[in-house]
């Protein structure tokens, strides 16, 4: 009990320190920034000047590694019922094979956080929306579970929750009858962190995933996008995904 009391105070202290830093420091100067990520003040809304994006280097991604998938499940409390057809899946590994030479590659695919998201276009209630900083989310308070967005998504990125849930993560509310998908770990991003999959990929040493602000020319992701030839999946659809792939 004493331990948790101390913990609580420490959290409050850190929160206050972060809030003060957000107010007093100039934009771009961060107290607890991780890598290229910028932390906003708690009361600051997401900025339209930022476009969060991800770059995935497929040459660094191995076929047998599923660390990103399991990190996502742990972070967001995604538990399955052993029914792969309907269990929630925010990120998955996809294998592609060139039939001419048999070369096989494996890559993670999740919500591509499109600039022109088809899921938002078709949503009848406005539950599916794109945040100012480019993160595409579902407001489950107004989602009616019609699943039009699931059909509209060219990347098969969204899942529907079919069954009652308990023990959700406090930062990732999920409930029966609503559609959900990758949030770019928006709770971490808002705190200046990176998505769980990116961290897990880095921890394995593969470092295939880079997360950052595509609008900031000095960010690692922008420098890589400028330096290497990168592409988007189904770029021909014109939805301008925020997730880019290298060596695909």
């Amino acid at each position: 009990m004493n331990g948790s009391g101390f913990d609580f105070n420490r959290r409050r202290f850190l929160g206050a320190a972060a809030a003060a830093a957000g107010v007093t420091l100039a934009p771009g100067v961060t107290l607890y920034g991780v890598g290229q990520a910028q932390a906003r003040g708690l009361d600051e809304p997401a900025s339209g000047e930022v476009r969060w994006g991800m770059l995935i280097d497929i040459n660094q991604c191995t076929t047998d590694c599923t660390e990103c998938v399991s990190a996502c499940a742990t972070e967001n409390g995604l538990t399955g019922h052993g029914r792969p057809a309907t269990d929630a899946q925010w990120i998955r590994k996809v294998s592609v094979r060139d039939p001419k030479n048999g070369v096989e590659k494996s890559l993670p695919v999740m919500c591509q956080h499109c600039a022109e998201p088809p899921c938002v276009d078709v949503c009848p209630t406005g539950a599916s929306f794109r945040r100012a900083d480019g993160i595409v989310l579902v407001d489950k308070h107004i989602c009616i579970g019609c699943r039009y967005c699931m059909m509209a998504c060219p990347y098969k990125a969204r899942s529907f929750v079919h069954e009652d849930l308990t023990d959700q993560k406090p930062h990732a509310p999920r409930g029966k009858g609503t559609v959900e998908s990758c949030t770019f770990c928006v709770h971490r991003v808002d705190a200046g962190g990176k998505p769980a999959c990116v961290e897990a990929c880095g921890a394995t040493g593969h470092g295939a995933m880079t997360f950052g602000d595509l609008n900031d020319p000095d960010s690692e992701i922008s420098r890589r996008v400028a330096q290497y030839a990168t592409g988007q999946i189904r770029a021909d659809l014109g939805v301008d995904p925020g997730v880019r792939y290298q060596n695909l």
């Binding site: 009990m1 948790s4 009391g5 913990d7 609580f8 420490r10 959290r11 850190l14 929160g15 972060a18 809030a19 607890y32 991780v34 932390a39 906003r40 708690l42 009361d43 600051e44 809304p45 997401a46 929306f129 945040r131 100012a132 900083d133 989310l137 407001d139 489950k140 308070h141 009652d164 849930l165 308990t166 023990d167 959700q168 993560k169 406090p170 930062h171 509310p173 999920r174 409930g175 029966k176 609503t178 928006v186 709770h187 971490r188 808002d190 705190a191 200046g192 962190g193 990176k194 961290e199 921890a203």
Partner: protein, 143 residues
């Protein structure tokens, strides 16, 4: 006559046992939160907590504003109790903070179909072992 008194007594006994008797009016027994006082006056919170939560919910969801004053996550962190073995009790369990009033007033609360009913546990220990920087950043996050 004696039978009637007995029946009436049996009808009222359970409700008296469940609620505190204050000036002849039964009222719900509300568990106290941690700390000295709530994020706003008790009278204000009693009347307007749903409006504040709803307002905060839209700001957090759509704009990413994560102030803590009216964050549901913070409400739960402060008002949740632990059982004898130190495990947190769901805030919507009978007699717990949310449930005690909402059962009394017969107002159904839908928050917990999606939202966690217990404060986050052990997260910090796990996170700091794997991702030291995130462990620092984590406490600032509010729902």
């Amino acid at each position: 006559m004696r039978i009637l008194v007995f029946i009436l007594a049996m009808m009222f006994l359970p409700s008296l046992a469940a609620a505190q008797e204050t000036g002849g009016v039964p009222s719900p027994s509300i568990t106290k939160g941690k700390g000295e006082q709530c994020v706003a006056d008790t009278d204000y919170m009693r009347r307007y907590h749903m409006k504040e939560l709803s307002h905060q919910r839209d700001e957090t969801m759509h704009e990413g504003v994560r102030t803590k004053q009216f964050s549901l996550k913070e409400c739960i962190a402060c008002h949740a109790t632990t059982d004898d073995s130190g495990q947190p009790v769901p805030i919507n369990a009978p007699g717990e903070f949310c449930a005690s009033c909402h059962e009394y007033t017969a107002v159904k609360v839908d928050c917990f179909q999606c939202h966690a009913t217990k404060p986050e546990q052990k997260k910090q220990a796990q996170a700091s072992a794997l991702f030291p920087m995130t462990a620092l950043a984590e406490p600032e996050v509010s729902q």
